[in-house]
């Protein structure tokens, strides 16, 4: 059964409690709404899963979101057409990711340090572009993107998430690239000695991470209808929480995308349930914090349980 089974039990429990607490919980409207409110984070959580499985980390995702949003506002404000600006923002994401990858794979600095620097760097760059202003210059079609249902009750952002989810599952569980991601996470040396192009895999992951983060920033701008320098501030922590709670080892190589899907649902339903019961945002954040600590302890708890089991049942 493993960790995913445990998450499933927790999830069902939360669903039960939530639906008893509030009749609104299971309505389609509430369900769509709770996803829309966090869609940017859960999109990034997908690529973060790959990166943490690879025994790396990308702390710069939320700042890249902010940078893409600011760049979008700044370009549209200075007369660029919105669709061109969107394209350029995606390129900024790719270039930013490639920049991270350069320092990590070629200079061989730890990704923790590189992306921490870029957490500050990308955010600063965004602030330079639009300073302390709030820009609200987007055409109506763009603002509709964020919320208008286009397939049944689902808006574009949720559809994008679902498509990316399917792609992520297929790549990670079924392709050769997914296999390489795991092997590198288990041991970079074993991968190198087996002829795996370690640097190439890492470069792809960080570039895609930049691209997806920029995409999330664009979707965020569309949902809010405006951009500000502090957009997405601190999101990286929520995203990493989701991935670790999903059972992905912070040391890489272990965990699955299914666990992450379950943990996304747990975090979203927990927050939604607390909102429906009028728990304040600060306490919600506190609860999420406790969850992060617990999820970081997962490997320890697991091995502790195993050692007890081994002692009891050893021949």
């Amino acid at each position: 059964m493993g960790w995913e089974g445990f998450l499933l039990v927790v999830l069902l429990l939360i669903i039960c409690v939530n639906s008893f607490n509030s009749l609104a919980f299971l309505t389609v409207e509430n369900q769509v709404n709770l996803f829309v409110l966090s869609v940017e984070k859960i999109i990034i959580a997908l690529i973060m899963t790959f990166i943490i499985l690879n025994a790396e980390i990308d702390l710069s995702v939320a700042s890249m979101m902010g940078l893409a949003a600011c760049a979008l506002g700044w370009m549209v404000e200075s007369g660029t057409s919105t669709s061109t600006a969107i394209g350029l923002c995606l390129i900024i994401g790719l270039v930013g990711g490639a920049f991270n990858a350069y320092w990590i794979t070629i200079v061989k600095l730890p990704s923790l340090v590189v992306t921490l620097a870029m957490l500050i760097g990308f955010r600063g760059l965004g602030r330079v572009l639009i300073e302390d202003r709030s820009i609200r210059v987007f055409p109506p079609w763009f603002e509709n993107l964020g919320q208008q249902p286009i397939l049944g009750p689902l808006p574009l952002s949720i559809l994008i998430f679902l498509v990316l989810l399917v792609i992520a599952v297929v790549i990670l569980q079924y392709t050769g690239f997914g296999r390489y991601v795991y092997v590198i996470g288990i041991s970079q040396e074993v991968a190198t000695y087996s002829g795996v192009r370690v640097a190439r895999v890492k470069t792809i992951l960080f570039m895609v991470s930049g691209l997806i983060s920029a995409l999330a920033g664009i979707l965020f701008s569309a949902r809010l209808g405006s951009v500000r320098g502090d957009m997405g501030l601190g999101f990286e922590l929520d995203i990493i929480t989701m991935v670790l709670l999903g059972g992905v080892s912070i040391f890489g190589g272990a965990g699955s995308i299914y666990g992450v899907i379950l943990s996304i649902l747990i975090v979203l339903y927990l927050r939604n349930g607390m909102s429906l019961s009028n728990v304040t945002g600060h306490i919600q954040t506190g609860v999420i914090g406790v969850i992060l600590i617990l999820s970081a302890m997962i490997p320890n708890i697991k091995s502790w349980l195993e050692s007890i089991f081994d002692k009891k049942y050893a021949p």
Partner: protein, 497 residues
């Protein structure tokens, strides 16, 4: 001074690591005022003895007596307090401290304030007594290796050393530096220190030692005054005689056409000027002692750590290989000596490990792994190499050493190599599995693969190889014909005779 009495008496020491008996019932005595050399092949148990004496490891059985009293050495500090010190090939000085600070680094009786003046004076006195000229105020980072060793010796003296262990101290020194080191060692001996000197260089052993102890396979073979041993008797004792009955009947495989040629392969400062040809179906043994840089040559050919000059010609294509991918394209496979760290992804399944190096063959539409074909391959190798496992989805980490080794073989055979570099192919597996692996290597050669077999197990090299290339400290000492080579002739080259 009081020469003749045993300062350190090692009695019936035994130490076991998992499968291997590193030391078995070993007794050695060190007398005050003698230089006692310890020699033996790789894995004879020399390092284990040093680790026990310096408190890095503990013995399973046996006693260490210091001046007649049994002592328990449970860590490095205790060893130091008993007056046992060791210097190694790579000295361990603090680069940012100066010479005097390094010498007095471990003193605990210095009180609250550091008395700098006294420290520098004392350091000067110690170095002067040793006949070493060094500025006590210069930082250790700028010192040569030899000077760093001198600092370590001075440090040992400042701690009132009774037993000084020198583990391969001359391996990276020039001949002038060696003679300086020797004069220091002799001076210490004359002052009543017992010096335990470990070296692979027999000429040095004969130059400096008073008595010589030989270790082989964890046993002490003999201790004799230097006047009673000869070079030949020493080598014979080191390699042993009974090994020859183990296997022999070397069947020479048919020499096929030349498929590869390595010319002047060099990577400074690690190895230089390596030259050999590889033929279809030939087993070329790579012999040498620890530190002879055989693995580095293998890694350069496989492109993990590329060489900086020379050429690798394979099937008429000449290039310097820069990455494992290039090597694989040329049909080269390299099976590492370190299964755990470099060879296998332990948490992954047997199947996933077997296909790891050739995964591209199994990718279908959209890069999706065709798992049925993958399982088929794994099944074939399970049959062919007789991998013992309940299922191919089993984690590799849970297999025995011998079966893990077979998975590694499968992984590389599946890349269909023309040249297969085997690095210590039988390390850490039991005797039965070893014979199986040997059989497997012979069969691969029969199928026309050129095999380059790096091994520290001399009988293994002799029994397998058609030709034997002997290395010593990064240089190629010669290539012997397998049929006429014996332990003595290989060891003589490996030790630079």
């Amino acid at each position: 001074m009081d020469s003749g009495s045993a300062v350190l008496d090692v009695q019936n020491l035994s130490k076991r690591f998992d499968m291997t008996q590193a030391l078995e019932d070993v007794s050695v005595d060190l007398k005050a005022g003698e230089i006692h050399a310890l020699v033996g092949e790789n894995g004879a148990g020399k390092s284990t003895l040093i680790k026990i004496l310096t408190g890095i490891q503990q013995a399973d059985q046996g006693e260490v007596l210091l001046q007649g009293k049994p002592v328990k050495i449970s860590n490095a500090q205790e060893a130091q307090s008993y007056g046992i010190a060791a210097i190694f090939q790579e000295p361990m000085v603090f680069p940012d401290l100066d010479v005097a600070e390094n010498i007095f680094i471990s003193h605990r009786d210095r009180g609250f304030f550091v008395r700098w003046k006294k420290i520098y004076q004392d350091a000067e006195t110690i170095l002067e007594d040793l006949g070493i000229q060094l500025d006590v105020r210069s930082p250790a980072s700028g010192l040569t290796l030899a000077a760093q060793q001198a600092v370590e010796i001075a440090k040992a003296i400042s701690l009132n050393v009774k037993v000084l262990i020198m583990d391969e101290p001359t391996a990276s020194l020039s001949s002038h530096e060696v003679s300086q080191l020797f004069s220091v060692a002799r001076r210490l001996r004359d002052e009543g220190v017992a010096v335990l000197f470990i070296s692979h260089r027999l000429e040095e052993v004969f130059e400096i030692a008073d008595r010589i102890t030989v270790f082989r396979d964890g046993h002490k073979i003999s201790t004799n005054p230097v006047s009673e041993v000869t070079r030949e008797s020493l080598i014979q004792e080191m390699v042993g005689r009974e090994v020859s009955k183990f296997y022999k009947s070397h069947e020479k495989t048919v020499q096929g056409r030349r498929i590869g040629s390595i010319k002047n392969l060099t990577k400074q400062p690690i190895f230089s000027e390596i030259n050999f040809d590889l033929h279809e179906g030939e087993i070329l043994g790579f012999a040498g002692l620890v530190g002879s840089r055989r693995t580095d040559v293998g890694l350069a050919i496989f492109g993990v750590t590329p060489a900086d000059s020379g050429s690798i010609e394979i099937e008429g294509k000449t290039e310097l290989i820069h990455s494992p991918q290039e090597a694989q394209k040329l049909g080269i496979a390299y099976m590492t000596e370190d299964r755990r760290k470099l060879g296998l992804a332990m948490p992954m399944s047997i199947t996933e490990n077997i296909t790891l190096a050739s995964l591209k063959k199994y990718l279908g539409l959209l890069g999706i792994v065709e798992s049925s074909r993958e399982e088929q391959t794994a099944g074939e190798f399970k049959e062919r190499l007789d991998i013992k496992t309940p299922s191919l989805t089993h984690e590799v980490g849970k297999l025995s050493g011998g079966n893990q080794q077979k998975v590694m073989f499968s992984k590389w055979l599946n890349t269909q190599p023309k040249i297969f570099i085997l690095d210590e192919p039988t390390r850490g597996i039991d005797v039965g599995a070893k014979a199986e692996v040997h059989q497997m290597i012979r069969e691969l050669a029969k199928q026309g693969i050129a095999i380059l077999c790096i091994s520290s197990d001399l009988p293994e090299v002799l029994v397998l190889s058609d030709r034997i290339l002997v290395m010593r400290e990064g240089r190629q000492m010669g290539i012997l014909e397998g049929a006429s080579a014996n332990q003595e002739s290989v060891m003589a080259l490996a030790m630079g005779q």
